[in-house]
């Protein structure tokens, strides 16, 4: 025993969430993404890796940023891409999600990238279509490519993830980005703290691996990374906060709060920012802000994911 070193192989046909990955998987994706990032800096930003592959962007929620990022990633790898913006109202017309997905099968896609407001839809699709499914955000469940690009960005700056203190502030309960980040950073050995009003905390948040802090000050204390989440506009059916004004007063990230953090703290935000609400403008645009790098790394991570799910083709059926 011990002599035979097992050769690592990426074995995932679908990317549904960071929860499915081992530590080795995550590092492999990040390393692959780093190599693809180089392509993006070339004068001719295109490689033939996925020539002849068909990729469908199947978006049930408006999302220019994530869709564009996946589309750029696919094009840089020479894949044929199609965008299908569906609305959940087609369900009311009697066509179910499964019907629509089965219609897409006629195009014989290799990869379907899906964004949907209901948690679990990517998982549901894997049971009905033959293509690889990549989750581009499902409900309040996961947004794995966002989590991975955040890991990539932090790793580039800090050289590691293990041992870092990461504060995530805001509406954790309704944020798939927070979910993927909590799971991803925790898997790689960071200490994740979350803070925000109790109305923004999912039940048993600690079960995901995060530490629930009583205040934002406590969460950012000695933090290496501070991530603020976008606050959704107030919900009619569920009074979560009295006003954005009060939220920013008590939970907004500003300079004086960041005095509690490490001097080299990184400032992150999955975007788009409500300036002056979850983050003051001087923080968003100031030292330590890596918000624009997040966007660049997003393309690299998504190229890596497209490449890797196609690399696992041996396990494909039919």
């Amino acid at each position: 025993m011990g002599n035979v070193k097992e050769i690592y192989r990426f074995r995932h046909k679908h990317i549904l969430g960071i929860e499915q990955f081992s530590v080795a998987d995550i590092f492999y994706i990040l390393d692959t993404a780093a190599s693809f990032k180089e392509i993006s800096s070339r004068p001719i930003k295109k490689v033939p890796t996925l020539r002849g592959k068909t990729i469908i962007n199947f978006f049930f929620e408006p999302s220019t940023r994530t869709r564009l990022s996946f589309e750029i990633a696919a094009k840089r790898m020479s894949a044929d891409t199609f965008n299908i913006a569906a609305s959940t109202s087609s369900a009311q017309k009697g066509e179910t999600l499964i019907d629509t997905a089965c219609n897409l099968e006629a195009m014989n896609p290799d990869i379907i990238i899906i964004r949907h407001s209901s948690s679990g839809v990517p998982s549901l699709l894997t049971r009905h279509v033959r293509a690889s499914i990549i989750n581009a955000g499902d409900g309040a469940h996961e947004h794995p490519s966002q989590g991975l690009l955040d890991l990539m960005t932090v790793r580039e700056h800090k050289g590691k993830i293990e041992g870092l203190k990461v504060a995530i502030v805001g509406d954790i309960a309704h944020s798939r980005v927070a979910h993927s980040n909590i799971v991803g950073f925790t898997k790689l050995g960071a200490e994740v703290r979350v803070a925000g009003p109790a109305t923004f905390m999912p039940p048993y948040i600690e079960s995901l691996g995060a530490r629930l802090c009583g205040s934002v000050e406590e969460a950012v204390q000695d933090a290496d990374v501070v991530m603020a989440l976008r606050i959704q506009k107030e919900r009619q059916d569920d009074p979560l906060i009295p006003s954005l004004r009060e939220y920013s007063q008590f939970y907004g990230i500003n300079r004086s709060l960041l005095r509690h953090a490490r001097p080299d703290v990184l400032i992150m935000h999955p975007g788009p920012i409500n300036r002056g609400v979850e983050m003051s403008p001087d923080v968003a645009d100031g030292a330590g802000s890596v918000i624009l790098e997040q966007v660049t790394n997003g393309v690299a991570v998504r190229m890596a994911l497209l490449y890797l799910v196609m690399g696992s083709e041996g396990s494909r059926v039919g």
Partner: protein, 425 residues
């Protein structure tokens, strides 16, 4: 001369008479008759060595979907599934289209039930159209054959209406069945609020959504001095409330279902809509508390909340999919697990599945006493089978128990002397 059905050499289990003996049971002209010394000329004899002879099982919480959603289930298919599951009678919930809130719908259901494979006891609506406003006509419902009232599927959110329903139903000797749910807490949720909902990113239904309403129903039963039946209890909290209320003399009865004492929220796994129902599957602690409630008498009955749906309602996004699972064909083997696990004894099992439902609904059956209706279930406690999709008689195939290996089966079901299901080898 009429045929005499003779069930020989079985184990007769009759909670009503406290009987658990080896013996024979004779049935003639739709009733249980005394055994005679000599075999009559026209006889149909079953040798039931190793099998149990129990009063016909009664499921007091079933959705037959008829009228209005016959593509999901009909009186005919639902009662066929019931008979196969060992049931000789079912109480059917009023959330049909139209809602069973009047004598005409009740009579329509009973008309369809003539010649069906099980007795059907229609349950009327509490409010007109189950809208939560105004009382349905209980006097006429009762005359037409309704045995209880409920707005099942929905809670009665107006406490004054629920109070009046209990009072007025009392005047007509109708049972009020409560679907206990505080909808303001539950409406945005699609599974139990807890560790699993957080992992899956699904909005949760907290325990308090059930316990708040159960407490209200108990308080109203106490206020009015009327009886109330709490349907499909899923939580430890509600079980405790019912136990305490019984101790202080509140006229409350309660049921739970096989899925609440068998499964937990973990069954949702990867967004399996066959594990989605209302109230939702809860935690292991709740499951244990439900089992304790079955053991100590807090629960009077096991019901299924049989809720057939087609793939149109179930093969959907988890949060969009309909609530409910079928249960008629799995209830008995899952309940037998309680006996095998030492939670309850056989006598108590039959009490929960037959004698008590008959008593609560004030309907015939639930006993093997001579002169009683010949509603009989013969159980082979050791018969093993795999619950496959193809084997299901219900139109609904929405079960979290698909492909489970189950043990214990009704091998002979007799309703009013007529054989409605026969799997004797």
């Amino acid at each position: 001369m009429t045929i005499v059905t003779i069930l020989q050499n079985g184990r007769l289990i009759d909670p009503a008479g406290g009987v658990d003996v080896a013996g024979d049971l004779w049935l003639q002209d739709g009733v249980i008759v005394p055994a005679r010394e000599h075999l009559p000329e026209n006889n149909l004899v079953f040798d039931l060595q190793g099998k149990w002879i129990v009063p016909g099982l009664i499921d007091m919480h079933v959705h037959l979907r008829d009228p209005g959603e016959e593509y999901k289930e009909t009186v005919a298919t639902g009662t066929r599934a019931a008979a196969a599951g060992g049931f000789t009678a079912v109480a059917c919930m009023p959330n049909t289209h139209p809602v069973n809130d009047n004598a005409a719908v009740t009579r329509f259901i009973l008309e369809k039930a003539r010649g069906a494979s099980a007795r059907v006891y229609p349950v009327g609506a509490i409010s007109k159209g189950s809208s939560g406003e105004g009382l349905a006509e209980y006097g006429e419902l009762k005359e037409a054959g309704a045995v209880a009232v409920t707005d099942d599927g929905l809670p009665v959110f107006d406490s004054q209406l629920m109070r009046r329903a209990m009072e007025y139903a009392g005047s007509h000797e109708l049972l009020v069945i409560s679907h206990s749910e505080e909808i303001a807490l539950s409406r945005s949720g699609s599974m139990n609020e807890g560790v699993v909902s957080t992992r899956l990113g699904l909005r949760g239904i907290p325990v308090a959504a059930e316990s708040i309403m159960v407490y209200r129903e108990l308080a109203l039963a106490e206020l009015t001095g009327q009886r109330v039946h709490i349907a499909h209890v899923s939580t430890a909290a509600a079980t405790d409330l019912i136990r305490q209320a019984k101790a202080r003399g509140v006229q409350v009865t309660a049921e739970t279902t096989p899925h609440y004492f068998t499964l937990t929220e973990e069954a949702v796994a990867e967004y399996d809509t066959n594990a989605k129902m209302n109230p939702p599957l809860r935690t292991e602690a709740d499951r244990q508390a439900i089992r304790e409630g079955l053991r100590d008498g807090t629960f009077d009955a096991i019901a299924t909340d049989h809720a057939p749906h087609s793939v149109l309602e179930k093969e959907l996004e988890f949060d969009q999919a309909a609530n409910g699972i079928i249960g008629l064909e799995t209830s008995l083997p899952l309940s037998l697990n309680l006996v095998r696990d030492g939670v309850i004894d056989v006598m108590r099992l039959v009490e929960l599945m037959s004698t008590a439902p008959a008593r609560i609904l004030k309907v015939q059956g639930g006993t093997l006493a001579v002169g009683s209706v010949a509603d009989i279930t013969v159980i082979d406690p050791d018969r093993e089978f795999t619950f496959t999709r193809e084997s299901i008689l219900s139109k609904g195939k929405n079960s979290p128990f698909l492909d489970w290996k189950l043990r214990g089966k009704a091998v002979l079901t007799i309703m009013g002397g007529r054989i409605t299901h026969n799997e004797m080898e």
